[in-house]
């Protein structure tokens, strides 16, 4: 696929690098000459040294044939304008904006930018994952599916302790891959009874996450 990235700061640079490594074609637009040069030295001829918020440079970067334009500068107003111009001038089918101030997520939605990424929100979700109280950790989504990998600990005072895996009543389409008990892996046979401190590795449809959480609480 072809992606145009606007803004060559840390986020833009590493995103470009990752997309190239994944075999995609990219063009990165960066207005600072020295920064553009630095990126070109590291990633090759994939940099346009120009302001991304001017339509003609978006055209020069080939936005008309881009599968997506991703605006990741440090300035929210610039990211908004870059995405709007890409939609209006180049008919880009998908635009994604980085939102530096999380308050602007609602604003961007109201102004027609559907996909936004807020680093604050991403960090918050990571922190929430590590809260010790939960014992329920969505570990990662599985690429190319609507499934995710979940790790769940059987806490004290939860009704799931003493039950069999079968009796948990997990939603359909969910599989328990294994049970970690005192550092050993046990097969999640139907007759094994769960103990406090057991950790279950579960594959589940992302949409059923809440239901899985409920079954284990």
């Amino acid at each position: 696929m072809y992606f145009v990235i606007a803004g060559g700061g840390e986020v833009g640079f590493h995103l470009a690098k990752a997309l190239l490594e994944a075999g995609h074609e990219i063009m990165l637009i960066e207005s600072d000459r020295r920064r553009a040069q630095f990126i070109e030295e590291h990633l090759g001829s994939v940099v346009l040294n120009a302001p991304a918020d001017e339509g003609r440079y978006q055209v020069e970067a080939g936005c008309q044939r881009a599968d997506a334009v991703i605006a990741v500068t440090g300035e929210d107003p610039a990211n908004l304008v870059i995405c709007q111009l890409a939609k209006w001038k180049c008919n880009v089918p998908r635009v994604i904006a980085r939102v530096n101030d999380p308050k602007n997520e609602i604003v961007f939605k109201a102004l027609g930018i559907d996909e936004t990424i807020s680093s604050t929100r991403v960090l918050m979700s990571v922190i929430e994952q590590e809260l010790p109280s939960s014992g329920f950790l969505p570990l990662m989504p599985l690429t190319g599916s609507h499934l995710e990998l979940i790790e769940a600990e059987i806490g004290p005072n939860t009704p799931s302790a003493g039950k069999t895996v079968h009796a948990l009543g997990l939603p359909r389409g969910t599989a328990v891959g294994g049970i970690v008990r005192k550092g050993n892996v046990l097969h999640a046979d139907d007759d094994i009874r769960l103990e406090v401190g057991d950790r279950l590795v579960i594959l589940a449809p992302t949409k059923d996450e809440a239901e899985v959480r409920k079954a284990l609480s």
Partner: protein, 155 residues
């Protein structure tokens, strides 16, 4: 009229002064306190320190009840964002954005935001003055010079 202006640079302060002396209720917003030094000493309106694209700051400026909204900061993109917020989020009827890049000014005008480009207006005016074109900007220049004279007297 109740009027909110974002950006207290030379243009914002000049307009705020004009409207204020014309008896309107003006609130002017800027990120930096020092910018309010551009306002004429006679200014009786409200100054508010904050980011003019921030919903809370705009609410504080009274955007819910404003008749007109001008966004006149140095950044074209910031002006375009503030103008769209005023128009689309708060439903302000009269919204005008200063956009110095003539091409962006044209694009956003086609998408319903009234934009004014200093570049194209001043450029067009200067060409007309050089060519002795009597139509273009005669009234504008006379009015502007009158305002300048008033300001000079106040100092």
């Amino acid at each position: 009229m109740k009027i909110v202006i974002v950006g207290c640079g030379r243009v914002g302060a000049f307009l705020a002064g004009l409207l204020d002396s014309g008896g309107h209720d003006v609130t002017i917003v800027d990120l930096e306190r020092g910018s309010f030094g551009h306002l004429p000493a006679s200014f009786k309106g409200t100054t508010l320190m904050g980011n003019g694209t921030d919903l809370e700051v705009l609410r504080q400026a009274g955007i819910d009840k404003t008749d007109a909204f001008f966004t006149l900061t140095q950044g074209d993109n910031r002006n375009l964002m503030a103008a769209q917020v005023a128009k689309q989020v708060f439903g302000v009827k009269q919204v005008i954005a200063k956009v110095n890049d003539p091409i962006r000014a044209n694009t956003y005008r086609k998408h319903g935001i009234v934009t004014v480009s200093r570049t194209s207006i001043l450029g067009t005016l200067l060409e007309a003055m050089l060519m002795g074109d009597p139509e273009v900007g005669k009234v504008l220049v006379e009015k502007a010079r009158a305002h300048e004279a008033e300001m000079a007297e106040q100092v």
